[in-house]
């Protein structure tokens, strides 16, 4: 294995402080919140989090806040534009010496998949065009969670949501946010999972050190919307990785690298059967849907393995 250039080599290198305090109104077992916890601990205290409407908007409810850094709630469509305004203002204040460089802050956008893949895409695209120096954290619970888990452009094919209750579930396909960003040459991109804190820490550390637009997409198992018991959140996170449903990868300098290659992928059914939103896939007549999903995963990973092999032979 190649040595990794990171201050996070072993689990014990992970920070033992918790920046985000507990006692919020977020559901028990929320995988998104777990990932956000881990991310903020690496980002540190000097952050401004610009939030788009979604589940996490209820983290700060007047007059309480779990944040040790600053927080600005904007709207569902325009958190990246809010981040632009904050960043521009900080740059202006620094240039005019109205604040010192140690008063500078990391500007972070926090939104769900619905905002990131849909209504917020225009503002996001503008921020990328302008090379805004910010980190976009998208917690992906694969639906409009805050409004009761209707399908969003981030919902996977076949999943049952409150607006796709038919026998075959959601008929659309999960939008590839990673590729949308990648096509526009961001500074850094990565997928993470709260169930893999070391991998997550390394990626956040990297995003923090690189100037320009960065995106972190965090796998966010949602007991409330996906229908599983809250205590299984981490298990589902692990299964998503081991079945290959949630590839851990990053993009940097024009290249995509998978940071974890599942040696022996588990069948996708191991992941699906744990969640109520996929229960109907096991009904007679829906076998083809599971087959399709497995075939798609196999094709994806075959492609990844091929490109890894060809780059190894080149080296």
């Amino acid at each position: 294995m190649k040595s990794i250039d990171s201050s996070f080599q072993r689990p014990r290198d992970l920070p033992d402080i918790h920046i985000l305090s507990s006692g919020t109104s977020i559901c028990a077992g929320c995988g998104g919140l777990q990932a956000i916890h881990e991310i903020l601990d690496i980002l540190g205290l000097k952050t401004v989090t610009v939030n788009a409407s979604g589940c996490m908007s209820l983290l700060s409810v007047y007059p309480f806040t779990p944040f040790s850094g600053s927080w600005l709630y904007t709207a569902m469509a325009s958190a990246p534009a809010g981040a632009q305004g904050v960043r521009d203002a900080l740059d202006r204040l620094l240039a005019k010496k109205r604040i010192s460089s140690d008063e500078d802050m990391q500007v972070v956008v926090l939104s769900g998949d619905g905002s990131a893949t849909g209504i917020g895409l225009s503002a996001t695209s503008g921020a990328i065009d302008r090379r805004l120096d910010f980190i976009y954290i998208c917690y992906d619970n694969e639906g409009y969670g805050n409004t009761g888990q209707q399908f969003s452009a981030g919902t996977p094919h076949g999943a049952r949501t409150t607006t796709s209750r038919g026998e075959h579930g959601y008929c659309g396909y999960k939008k590839d946010l990673f590729s949308i960003w990648k096509a526009n040459h961001p500074a850094y991109l990565a997928t993470v999972s709260g169930a893999e804190p070391l991998d997550l820490a390394r990626k956040i550390e990297k995003a923090k050190s690189i100037k320009g637009p960065s995106l972190i997409i965090a796998f966010s198992p949602c007991p409330t919307g996906w229908h599983f018991p809250p205590q299984e959140s981490i298990e589902i996170g692990k299964l998503a990785i081991r079945t290959g449903v949630w590839p851990l990868k990053e993009y940097e300098d024009g290249k995509v690298v998978h940071t974890y290659m599942p040696a022996r992928r588990l069948p996708v059914t191991e992941y699906l059967k744990k969640q109520g939103r996929f229960a109907h896939l096991f009904h007679p007549g829906n076998e083809y849907l599971i087959k399709e999903m497995q075939a798609e995963l196999d094709a994806y990973w075959a492609c990844v393995e091929k490109s890894v092999k060809s780059s190894e032979t080149k080296e």
């Binding site: 007047y62 469509a77 809010g82 305004g85 904050v86 008063e103």
Partner: protein
Amino acid sequence: MNKQMLTGNVAAAWGARLAGIDYLPAFPISPQTEIIETVAEWIDTGVMDATMTTLDSEHSMLTAAGGAAATGVRVFTATSSQGLLYGMEMMYALAGWRVPLVLINVSRGLGAPITLEPDHNDVLAARDSGFLQLHCSTCQEILDSILIAFRLAEDKRIRLPVLVNLDGFYLSYTREPVIIPEPKEARDFVGPYDPGTVRFKADAPISEAVAVLGGEAYSYFRYEVQVAARKALEVYEEIAAEFQAAFGRSYDKIDAYRADGAEYLFLMIGSFATKAMDAVDQLRAAGWKIGLLRPRLLRPFPDRDLRILAAGRKGIAVVDQNLSFGRGGILHTEVTSSLYGQPGAPPVIAGFVGGLGGRDIAAEEFYQMAEDLKKACRKGVQPPMRLLYTAGELTAMRKLQTIAHAVRPEGGRDEKH
């Protein structure tokens, strides 16, 4: 004295320049675009020291404006019409954030049908947003109002965003002589930007614009905006007095023209009020006792000033350049509710709607409105609302339709016009 011929848009850009803005988030839309083009050129040529960022939309533009103001810089931005509506969600948000920025709206009628020419349905759609509103009728007033607007917005007792309105074409693209204040005098008047308590700082983290649970917390903050907005009546007076002392030009909350001894009054906002001034001159020459009231401040609404100015008159003709479909003119409702039951209030407040989408209001129409008002006052009965449109215009429209083979059944053909 530096006096130049400036369009309303360039006068607005001068306002921003003299106010020493830090930040201009922008998005183009006619007839506003000349403002951001002018500032962009000044920045590019080093004449002006500010940061300008073009966003992907007005919704983003206003979000960036609010984010920057909340981080502690002086923010100016501009839009029109469809742009104002596109950003409307954030208008309400920014007032709630209590960020003291200044937004120019260059009025333009709203689609559909799509048009570039002005009326006030755009700016009045923002009436209830929490932005304070100043309405201009000359290019000089635009520049001066921006300086006043920054003072008003940033005043510690207020801390609300302020919208300055000017009419597309009639002001935006019309050159008028404008006195450009000395930069130092303008800077002294506006003062340095004090971010106050709304300010992101590394060593003093805060949460802004957070959610509330329950109507008690919600009402608490909404009422606070109301209190601040009403306070702006008094604060505006102080600032306008200071402005007059510094620059010699006076801007009352309501501009009264030849109102002394008038039995009848027109009431209008914006550039078309200058047409009403001409009509007043003509009517006065013909022996009428008539004048004009032009509210400059629409939010907060200057009730007390209006009551004093209206007391003892026979009647007011409110001319609305907007239309609330199914109701009528918006100003008419505002004026009526402000005067109802007040001692000495005129018994008749007649409502007229005209000048939509840049349609002219001719002198003859003002005379006709004055006649209508007089007649209603004689009867002592509030007349029904009238939509200004002439038989000639209707004939011309139908002729055009005939030429284009586009004759159509007309809705509302039975309506009197």
